[in-house]
Amino acid sequence: MMSLLSYFRSQRKNTARVAKERLQILVARERSQRDGPDYLPALQEELLQVIRKYVEVDNEAVQMHLDKDGDCEILELNITLPDQRHS
């Protein structure tokens, strides 16, 4: 009887698990932003301006991520350039 029940349960999509995964990613990102140095948003803005001297990119083009590795802080920069076919 129980196995029948758990069979039906496993057929359903476990939305709580999806929620948890999304939250873990989101919370980690938001924490790294707020725990980072105050100059990060300004740095991001200036980097965008510099890049825009050469190519047109949207506001999401520069992604920054701050990580700690022991005593060492690592600033990861991701710059997405526009699709060549459109430029």
Partner: protein, 269 residues
Amino acid sequence: MARIVVITSGKGGVGKTTTSAALATGLAKAGHRTAVVDFDVGLRNLDLVMGCERRVVYDFVNVINQEATLNQALIKDKRVPGLCILAASQTRDKDALTDDGVARVLKELSEDNDFIVCDSPAGIERGALMAMYHADEAIVVTNPEVSSVRDSDRVLGILSSKSRRAEEGREPIRERLLLTRYAAERVAQGDMLSVEDVQEILGIELLGVVPESKAVLNASNAGIPVILEEDTDAGQAYQDAVARFLGEERPYRFLDVQKKGLFGRLFGS
């Protein structure tokens, strides 16, 4: 010196006022002199949940503006000795809670109380920041639902960076999680985040789990803090949480699905 406890959440409607009323009442019942203060300026509600709305003459802002003394504004609870309520003002002026005014009122309250419970408004604007600023302890009220958990995490960020304790470089605010509107059945079905999930994401100590319960609405309809409804599930969950708050160890009671008859076991999930 009183300990200042803020009841906060970020997201609205998760159970802060219900919790403020329950905690303050529970603390006073345990013999601690307690004042509960409504910081929700413009949307006074704590008076209704505590059942003293008809006795509000002066409010928090009147005391700040020195239009009334603290003693004139404090409402003594008729059920529990040692408990008093300071109602929020219904003014629309969002700047009515001045830094100095709030500090002065809390200091004065601190002289005659063991605990000051601050019922924070939703959001992360002035009223909420003011309620958090002076806290020694925070109870982060969270529902097992994505936006509430995310907002709770933002509030944790504010508690650790924008509080008086943070500014003065003192020991940080003690932060504890109160998970409310918990439906064990839906957790078992995989539709709702479990208490372990939420704890893992937020990474703070657990103070209690309050089940989703009809008793909460019934109690607020009647103006009775639900913790006084001693034979209800929510009332008992709040009693446990208050006991833990005061350092007692209590097992968790409402985390498992209630046993059902054969029919329920077969079809009710």
